[in-house]
Amino acid sequence: MGYEISLLTFMGISIIGSLSLNLITGFCGQVSLGHVAFVGIGAYTASILTKADTTFFVALLAGMLLAGTFGVMVGLASLRVRHDFLAITTMGVNFVFLGVVREQEWLGGELGISSIPDPGFGKLGFLALVLGCVILVALLSLQIRRSWMGYVFEAVSGDEDTARMLGLDVSRYKLIAFALGTALAGLSGGLYAHHVRFIFPDSFAFVESITLLAMVVIGGNGSILGVIVASALLSVLPQWFQFIGDYKLLLYGSLLFVVMRFSPGGLAGLAQNLFPKSKKSFVPKENQ
C-alpha cells in the first residue's frame, strides 16, 4: 500500500497548494505566477525548526505564519501594480526567493536541507493528516466564498475600479486574500518537506508555480471542486503515464494548451456546459 499512500499524500499536498492559490487568483482575481515561493517559505521554515527539535505542529504553524507575512508584503505590491504587471512581479518574487535561498548556507544553499525528521505518524497517519488538511482548506474556501469576504473578492476580481467606487475597501481585501492564500501555501510546503524529508531550491523552481497555476486554471478559475479534481489528476499524471515514457511532458504541455484553447473555463466550465440545468454554479460568473 506504500505506493498508493505516497501518491495520495502528494495528491493531497498538491490540492492544498492549488486551493491556496485559488483564493488569490481564482476568488480575488490577482494572478500570481510565483506562488511556489510561499510553499517554499513554509517548507524551509518548518524544516529548520523541526531539525532544531521544535514540535512538528508548532513548526508547521510557524511556516504558515512566515509565509503569510511575506505574502502580505507581496500583496502590498499588488496595490501598486495590476494584472500582467502583477503576474510578472510575482514571478520575480519566485526568482528572488530562489536566488536568496541558493546563496545562504544556513538555508542549505544549493545542497538544501536533508534528513528532515520524521513527524512520527507513520505513512498512513501522515496521509490522514494531509487529507484532514485538504478537507479543512476546502471547507474554508467554501465558507469564504459564501461569506461577505467572498463577495468582495468576487467584486474585486470582476472589476476593481467599480468595486472601489461602491465603497469596498479593495486594498484591505486584496491583502487578506494574499495573507490567507500564502499562509495555506506555507502549510502545503511544511507538509511536503516532512513527507519527502529533503528539500532543495529546485523543489520550488518557477516551473512549479506554473504547475500550480495550471491546476487552478484547468480546474476552472475559482471553482473549488474543479481545482480539486484538476490538482488530483495533474499531480499523479506523470506516474500514470509512465508507460508513455518519452512523450509524457509533450502530452502534459499539449493538454494545458488544448484545455485553454478549447475550454477556457477549465473542467468546471466543461461541466457547466454539459450540465447546464444543474443548480450548482461550477463557474464564477465572469467565465460564463
Binding site: A77, V217, M260
Partner: protein
C-alpha cells in the same frame, strides 16, 4: 578598460535580449497577450539555422530560413492558437502559451535529440580585436545585426504606411478599421516581424555558443517577460532600453554581486525595484 569591456559585454547580451523581447512587446501591445511560446520560436530559429548550415554551409541561407521560417510559423501560431481565445481573461492565453511552449521544447528534444546540436564547422568564431576590445566576429555581427534589425523596425514603424497602419491599430483598433486598415493583416505582420526577430536571436545564440538545445528558450521565456514589463508593456523603445540596461546590470552583477544573488535574481530584483517606483514601467507603454 575592463569596465568598458564589461559594459560592451552587457550591451551584447542586451541586444540579444532586445531581439527576443521586442517581438514579445509587439504582440502584447497589439493583443494584450503574454506570448510565452515566443521563446519556443527563438529556439526554433536556432535549430533551423544550425540544420541548414550543417547541410549547405551557407550562412545566408541559414539566416533566411531562420528569419522567414520562424516568422511564418509565428503567424500560424497566432491563427491556430490565439485568435480564438482573444476575448478570454488574460490567464487563458498565458497558460495556453505556456502549454504550447512546453510541448515545443519536448518536441525539439524528441526530434533533434536531448544532447543538442552543434555546428560541424562553426562560423564567425574567430576573435576580432577592434580598438583594443576583444570580441569574436560573431559578437560584432550580433551588435550590427541588432542595430540594423531594430533600427529597421523603428524606420518601418515611423516612416512607412505599413508602420502607420500598425501604430494606428495599436492605439485605436476601431478607428483604424474605420479608416480601412485591415486589423487581421496588421496582426499577421506583427507576429511575423516579432517571430522573425526571435528566430534571428535564436540563430545568433546558437552560433555564439555553438550549441542549440531543446531547452535554450527557458531563460528567455521568463526574462523577456521581465524586460517588456520593465520597459513598459507595449513600448518598443522602452523594451529596447530595458533590454540593454538589463544586459549591462547582469554583466556587472555577475562579476561583483555573483556571490550575493544569482543572475536571474538580479534581473528580477531590478524589475521589482523599478516597478515599485514606476508601476507602469520605465516608459509609458500602451
Amino acid at each position: 578598460m575592463l569596465y568598458l569591456e564589461l559594459f560592451l559585454q552587457g550591451l551584447l547580451q542586451g541586444s540579444i535580449y532586445a531581439l527576443v523581447a521586442v517581438g514579445l512587446t509587439l504582440v502584447y501591445g497589439l493583443l494584450r497577450i503574454l506570448h510565452v511560446a515566443h521563446a519556443g520560436l527563438y529556439t526554433l530559429g536556432g535549430y533551423f539555422a544550425v540544420l541548414v548550415f550543417n547541410s549547405t554551409g551557407s550562412l545566408m541561407l541559414s539566416g533566411i530560413v531562420a528569419m522567414f521560417g520562424v516568422g511564418i510559423l509565428g503567424v500560424i501560431i497566432y491563427r491556430l492558437c490565439y485568435e480564438a481565445i482573444l476575448d478570454q481573461p488574460p490567464y487563458v492565453p498565458l497558460i495556453a502559451s505556456i502549454g504550447l511552449f512546453i510541448a515545443m521544447e519536448e518536441l525539439y528534444r524528441i526530434l533533434f535529440g536531448s544532447y543538442g546540436v552543434s555546428y560541424t564547422n562553426p562560423p564567425l568564431q574567430q576573435m576580432l580585436p577592434l580598438g583594443g576590445l576583444y570580441l569574436r566576429e560573431g559578437e560584432w555581427v550580433t551588435i550590427l545585426v541588432s542595430i540594423i534589425l531594430i533600427g529597421g523596425l523603428a524606420w518601418l514603424s515611423s516612416r512607412t504606411r505599413l508602420g502607420l497602419a500598425w501604430r494606428a491599430t495599436v492605439t485605436d483598433p476601431q478607428m483604424a478599421e474605420s479608416f480601412g486598415i485591415d486589423p487581421i493583416r496588421v496582426r499577421y505582420l506583427n507576429f511575423f516581424i516579432g517571430s522573425a526577430l526571435a528566430g534571428t536571436a535564436g540563430m545568433i545564440v546558437g552560433i555564439l555558443n555553438n550549441l542549440v538545445e531543446p531547452t535554450m528558450g527557458s531563460v528567455p521565456s521568463y526574462k523577456a517577460l521581465a524586460i517588456i514589463v520593465l520597459g513598459g508593456l507595449g513600448s518598443v523603445r522602452g523594451t529596447l532600453v530595458a533590454a540593454l540596461a538589463l544586459g549591462v546590470v547582469e554583466s556587472f552583477g555577475t562579476i561583483y554581486l555573483g556571490n550575493v544573488l544569482n543572475r536571474d535574481a538580479i534581473a528580477f530584483v531590478f524589475l521589482i525595484l523599478v516597478l515599485m517606483v514606476r508601476p507602469q514601467g520605465m516608459f509609458r507603454g500602451v
